[in-house]
């Protein structure tokens, strides 16, 4: 298992290779990328900011929990910080296991826990030049959910 916060583009193929082994016949990958719209606003980029010491601790704990919960799984996760352009990967998770069900489930476990408890925040850049920190617990603007 391995988890990292990185300031450079994430190499998904390298993460796939890192978890691969001839005993593990199923590998899954999750890639989260910066979208061009959010709640109907046009986004041009994103800042990711972490409370680094704590984020790294939580990420490592989550990856270790995934491997404990799915024995035989090997899981790695990298999350990027800094300013990202549209379509760039903010997070990549690779998971490998002898069988496909735990390969999928351990990968999914990591992204769900990451979104629940890793202290990372994002600030969207809008095409009108404004920026805003995102609160996933806030209701979306009424207009975007008719």
């Amino acid at each position: 298992m391995r988890a990292a916060l990185v300031q450079h583009p994430i190499d998904a193929a390298a993460l796939l290779a890192e978890v691969a082994a001839v005993g593990r016949g199923a590998t899954t990958l999750f890639v989260g990328t910066v979208r061009d719209t959010h709640d109907e606003r046009h986004v041009s980029g994103m800042d990711y900011h972490a409370y680094e010491a704590m984020a790294l601790h939580e990420l490592n704990a989550i990856v270790a929990e995934a491997e404990a919960r799915f024995p035989g799984a090997r899981v790695v996760c990298e999350h990027r910080t800094g300013t990202l352009g549209l379509g760039e990967a903010s997070v990549v998770i690779a998971a490998a296991h002898p069988h496909r069900a735990p390969a999928f489930e351990s990968c999914r476990f990591v992204i769900e826990e990451l979104k629940r408890r890793v202290p990372i925040w994002k600030r969207e850049h809008y095409v009108d030049g404004t920026r805003a920190w995102i609160d996933p617990t806030a209701a979306a603007p009424a207009a975007s959910h008719p």
Partner: protein, 80 residues
């Protein structure tokens, strides 16, 4: 020796700073730290019960803080 209180993202924006120094009384808790924070300009934009970490681990409202501790007030996380 005082404690450092770290503010992030929208909370740092609300208070116009990303760090506050504080001298806790002996036996002071996370709740006391938050109460002090609320006296600062912009703190009305913090929620009633924000998440808090002490020394980079999630903490409870009643946890005692000690000189040298790093307390962080954690906005709703949005990684991934």
């Amino acid at each position: 020796m005082s404690i450092r209180v770290l503010l992030f993202a929208s909370y740092a924006e609300a208070l116009g700073r990303d760090e506050v120094a504080m001298d806790p009384a002996p036996g002071a808790t996370v709740a006391d730290v938050l109460e002090h924070l609320r006296t600062l300009p912009g703190a009305d934009r913090l929620p009633p019960r924000p998440l808090v970490a002490v020394n980079a681990r999630y903490a409870a409202i009643g946890d005692v803080v000690r000189p040298g501790d790093e307390v962080a007030v954690i906005p709703p996380v949005a990684g991934g």
